[in-house]
């Protein structure tokens, strides 16, 4: 199969083969068709963006990948195998981590504890062992803690480790949410508008972190973003959605010059 082979990006990075493939996905809510018959793939190691106007169905697509929504029609293939119907927590345990458009953190818990929950997918010691703080459970806690401290250093949030998340400003919350997702050492990282509502400086920081994550850990990233400039800078390939349909798919430069995409963004009537 030729599809499984990688490609080389414009800036000369080697990208791996297909990691996840979405085939003929349709999603309906009662009478509303949020996604209609969309197919695309995500390659190992790439930064894949999904863009489109409000209500295009971008978040719905991410929700399908992370198991929060079940497609009405269509299949999802992961690492060459068809993925059976799974609950979100099962998808998470398969190595898919995500953030949310409207930030979903554990507000009453500290930053450190929030990030520690990212390690829940790596939990092996049984509940009994944990309750008694026994051999394997204790070793695991120590190992998790080490990994978490690494992520915290990486995202430069050491100084707020012990702060309850509810007290943080918006921009930092977004960063903590990314930290929690990273702590899972995911094979795919899904980011739903990681920069929405941020000021320019915060956006630059976040862009840098996303690029660094991809670069240093080779993490495959699929992100949704409204800001065209950001998307062009960050992503290797872009899917463009409008009214639930795919109207473009390819490298940023190519997509930018696509007439359908220009029309969708300029609001040309359908």
């Amino acid at each position: 199969m030729t599809e499984t082979e990688g490609y080389v990006t414009a800036d000369g990075r080697q990208i791996g083969g297909v990691l996840m493939e979405l085939k003929d996905i349709t999603l309906k809510f009662g009478g509303v068709t949020a996604i209609s018959d969309i197919s695309f793939d995500i390659h190992e190691g790439e930064i894949r963006a999904i863009i489109g106007p409000n209500g295009a169905g971008k978040s719905s697509m991410l929700n399908i990948i992370s198991g929060f929504y079940t497609p009405t029609i269509g299949e999802l293939w992961y690492k060459g195998k068809k993925r059976p119907q799974m609950k979100p927590f099962e998808v998470a345990r398969m190595g898919v981590a995500r953030t949310f458009q409207n930030i979903a953190l554990f507000e009453g818990m500290t930053v450190l504890d929030n990030v520690m929950t990212g390690r829940l997918t790596h939990m092996k010691a049984g509940i009994g062992a944990q309750a008694l703080w026994w051999g394997k459970a204790r070793d695991e806690e120590v190992a998790n803690r080490e990994k978490v401290e690494e992520v915290i250093d990486f995202l430069e949030i050491q100084n707020i480790r012990k702060t309850p998340v509810g007290r943080l400003p918006y921009g930092l919350k977004k960063r903590v949410e990314l930290a929690r997702a990273l702590a899972a050492e995911p094979s795919i990282l899904l980011l739903d508008e990681p920069m929405a509502g941020m000021n320019v400086e915060e956006k630059e920081d976040m862009s840098r972190f996303i690029l660094d994550v991809n670069d240093e850990f080779g993490t495959t990233i699929c992100l949704i973003e409204h800001d065209m400039g950001v998307v062009m800078d960050l992503s290797d390939r872009v899917v463009v959605m409008d009214y639930g349909k795919k109207i473009g798919d390819g490298p940023p430069d190519e997509v930018r010059n696509n007439q359908d995409v220009i029309d969708a963004y300029l609001g040309v009537p359908h």
């Binding site: 554990f106 929950t117 509940i127 459970a137």
Partner: protein
């Protein structure tokens, strides 16, 4: 009259501090049990939005099972382990048979379901163990009898060894629960699910596992309180009332606050005892402990609708 309310009680406390200590101690003993029970409620409520009406009957059921197993000739400590096993099976069954099929139903339906569980346990308990009162197997469990007499300020303070045991064991259990919740991954999962459902799913937390776990914890709490209260008052369906004391505790502490449950429980235990001794008995003919906690909670709620420790409720217009 005003003097009886505002001056005499405090004068009495001051003139006999040893007796005041005695009252506070007895309040503490009940308070820590109220706190434990309230903690059981809070853990279940946070992770499933269910107000567990069955907590009280679980206390009775656990105590009956323990006494019943021992009556069959099983050694006391093995009976304790077996009872824990029964409480675990109960937790798994409740999750499978009651909670799982009702996911997503309105809160009131889930609340009704716990009433169903209550009726089932009352029926089951009576059929298996009979309805007559029983005696807790305190001696067999090695719970000490007798007392220690102290003489603070040359006065008199009597500490029942049973009460000391209750305070030590209950405090240890609360501390262990707090450590579990704060320093283990499963504990974080329980807290996380209480904070944000979606986020919890996204980090791989399984609702089912957490639910079984919190109901099992409620079962452990039921057994410990059942032994403690049963040792003082005998094992009967009347034991259930201890769980109703958790209601005002929750009104004070808030349904979702773990700290609130602990502090609220201690406060109510101590205040209701103080009130009974210094105001209730001299002025109201006594027996105020049955209602004092509720009145106190109502008065607090008048001024702080969110409870003592709850976040401020923001009215949405």
């Amino acid at each position: 009259m005003l003097k009886d309310i505002f001056i005499t009680p405090f004068a009495d406390m001051f003139s006999a501090p040893d007796f005041l200590l005695q009252v506070l101690w007895e309040g503490l003993v009940s308070g820590i049990l109220y706190a434990l029970i309230a903690l059981g409620f809070v853990l279940i409520f946070r992770s499933s939005r269910i107000f567990n009406f069955a907590q009280g009957i679980m206390v009775v059921f656990a105590a009956l099972t323990l006494v019943g197993l021992h009556a069959m000739g099983i050694p006391a400590w093995i009976s304790v382990v077996l009872t824990l096993g029964v409480m675990f099976v109960l937790a798994v069954s409740i999750e499978r048979i009651v909670l799982r099929p009702l996911v997503g139903q309105p809160d009131i339906i889930l609340f009704m379901a716990t009433i169903g569980i209550t009726l089932f346990l009352i029926g089951g308990g009576e059929i298996i163990f009979g309805g007559e009162n029983k005696v807790m197997i305190s001696e067999e469990l090695g719970i000490p009898t007798g007392d220690t007499v102290l003489e603070p300020w040359g006065g008199l303070l009597i500490l029942q060894h049973l009460d000391i045991t209750v305070v030590v064991v209950a405090t240890a259990l609360v501390a262990a629960l707090l450590a579990f919740l704060n320093y283990t991954q499963m504990g974080r999962a329980i807290r996380a699910l209480g904070d944000d459902h979606q986020a919890a799913l996204s980090v791989g937390i399984s609702l089912q596992t957490v639910w079984v776990l919190v109901w099992f914890i409620a079962g452990i709490i039921a057994l410990v309180t059942g032994i403690a209260w049963g040792a003082r008052a005998g094992v009967s369906f009347a034991l259930e009332v201890i769980a109703y004391k958790a209601l005002p505790v929750l009104m004070l502490g808030g349904l979702e606050s773990i700290t609130g449950a602990i502090i609220g429980g201690l406060m109510i235990g101590i205040l209701e005892k103080l009130f009974e001794i210094y105001w209730g008995q001299p002025l109201l003919g006594g027996n105020t402990e049955t209602w004092f906690a509720f009145v106190l909670a109502l008065v607090v709620l008048l001024f702080r609708p969110q409870g003592l420790f709850g976040e401020k409720i923001i009215e949405r217009v």
